[in-house]
């Protein structure tokens, strides 16, 4: 019985790994965002946005159409949208929603594997609101490469705060650049005349670290006393 169980066990060990290695889905070739370069400049209370997108494998799409999602930020409205590819203006089909608009364009020539296009638009800046909606293509970016480049230029004399989105590692700059893995629905670059040290992020971070340290300290003291009690009891 022991030998039989060893044989059965061994057979299972081998066969289980073979079976569980089965791939569930074949890899499909779909269009993807090869790169995107997004420039945002703030002038006279208006954001000027230029979004240059490169889509690869576009021949895998039957109709060569790309839908773009544009988040509606109530106060900061998108206007004067102009889309072009190779110098030719593209007229988008616009589907308006309550929280989300969709812009559909047809890109690239028949045989082109890679299509590049430029989206230019303006966003009114409301008082105290720093969100800028971006055009998000329906195709995913190549996540590992961080090919989404975003830059923001604040008005003269202003410095961009670290508690912006996307988060910044340096402070005191008038212009920032960030490489990301995916195109976000919006950016939120906060700025002021000087760097504010006591912002919400710094306060929250300090409280979190302090709490963790105090908890560890209390736990260490508790365990030490417990061990001493047990040793004395023994």
């Amino acid at each position: 019985m022991k030998k039989l169980s060893i044989i059965i066990t061994t057979l299972f060990l081998i066969s289980s790994f073979i079976f569980t290695e089965k791939t569930l889905a074949a890899e499909e070739q779909t269009p993807y965002v090869k790169s995107a370069n997004i420039e945002i400049i703030l002038e006279d209370n208006t954001y000027l946005v230029k979004e240059k997108v490169e889509v690869d494998n576009i021949t895998e799409s039957e109709d060569r159409k790309v839908e773009h999602l544009v988040k509606q930020i109530t106060e900061n409205k998108v206007k004067d949208v102009k889309i072009s590819s190779n110098g030719i203006e593209l007229i988008p089909e616009i589907i308006k929603g309550e929280n989300l608009d969709r812009y559909v364009i047809k890109i690239g020539n028949e045989d082109e594997e890679v299509a590049e296009y430029l989206i230019e638009y303006k966003v009114n800046k409301a008082e105290g609101i720093f969100e800028v909606p971006l055009f998000v293509p329906e195709y995913e970016a190549q996540g590992e490469q961080r090919n989404i480049h975003i830059s923001f230029q604040a008005p003269e004399g202003q410095v961009i705060q670290k508690n912006s989105f996307p988060i910044l590692n340096e402070s005191g700059l008038n212009m920032v650049e960030k490489d990301m893995a995916n195109i976000p629905a919006m950016t939120k670059f906060l700025y002021a005349e000087k760097t504010k040290f006591f912002n919400s992020f710094n306060i929250i971070s300090t409280i979190a670290l302090l709490s963790l340290f105090l908890m560890l300290l209390y736990w260490g003291i508790y365990e030490k006393r417990k061990n001493r009690r047990e040793a004395n009891g023994n």
Partner: protein, 471 residues
Amino acid sequence: MSGTSPIFYYVVAGYFIVTVAIGLLAGRGNKTSEDHLVAGRSIGPLIGGAALAATQLSAGTFVGTIGILYLTGASYLWYWPGLWAGWIVSAIWVAPKFQRFKGVTVPEYIEKRYNSKAAKMISAALIIVAYSVYLIAQYVAGGILMNVMFGLPMIWGATITIVITMIYTLKGGMKATAYSDFFQAIIMAGCFFVALPILYSQAGGFGNVGSFLTELNPKLTGWHWGFKDLLGFGLAFGLSMAIAPYELARMYSLKNEKTVRLAIGFSFVFQAIIAVSIGLVGFGIRAIYPVMGSPDSASSIMALELLPPVIGALFMVAILASIMSTVSGVMIVSSSAVSHDIYGTLKKSATDKQKMIVNRIAVVVLSVFPLAFAIKPFDLVQFIVLVQASMIASFFFATVVIGLNWKRATGTAAIVSMIGGMATVLLWHVFDKPWGLNEVIPGVMVSCILLIVVSFFTKPVPQESLDPFFK
């Protein structure tokens, strides 16, 4: 590199140092197998509860579940009731009896209850297989994490995770893993309290997120998954959680039966915090990144690009903590299956010292072996975790739950049940889930039917095998 703040390196390094230190301090003084594998049966309810929660909450939760919630929306949360039902089954019918039995490994229960060394060895082998699959998911998640944070190739990230975990597991055993799990559980639960307000402040508030997601895809706030799928997920997790060897092994380390029930209660609190939080994280991230290449990287992306560096680093550390707490629990169970259940049975004269040497070798080998499969994983993290949950449930649910509560179950029936359940899961998986049913449903059904039917046709076990489990 990715432009990661240097704070990430300090926080991650600090976490590794503190975790290893806690593990080594807690586990010093281990002399015997009983000290090493069951912490001398000294763990109290709070640390025990945290350890139960932390072991269960793995990469599957912080990477995989957030990824699936990001991709498919709120309906996926319905698997949690299935999971908790499994814990209730454990608290009432399984865990207290396990603690009372005072074994060292889970297959040891199989041997004692069914009076069968063969059943013990087969169950040990099945644990090794299922948990090797489980480790693949953890390594993939660790690799993704390190890749996103530091730009490291996945294999290096997975290796670093394994090595750090191995250090305190090898040295400190079960007590080390329990104490480090407590620390890791605090980080896991705590980081959400700071991360969620920041995430939703950036996303525009709860109302905005809800209406945006509904308009993006109504199924995100509605029903992406059908009843059959949700039943399958709930059963896979619930049935496996009721008898999960890495949780049952922890029952041996608790002081008494009352501690077991209290610990499960504390574990529920931790889990509830996590369940709600990861749901909110998945939805919030989707509102900010409507299109994402790899859903499994959703939580890492949030930590790197949305949260302040300290909080983002703590969140990444929480994910690492979830991986390491599970890996350490699995290492203990799998290695003891080799050293005590297979080696100890084949070589009856093996001393405790010899078994501990084999145990340590097994920790290293079983930790490294799944790396080869992690390089080319066969599915998203969460679905790899689901496959192993189905395997565990299919070969153990009947033998543990029915065996602990029905005296007539026999040794031969246990063997047939385990093999039949496992074979059913594998075949169901190979044939691409006929009728859209998750493999756990036929797997558990077949194993239960086989256990009951074959028991009636085979010799009952002697009374002394039943005495530890039936008063």
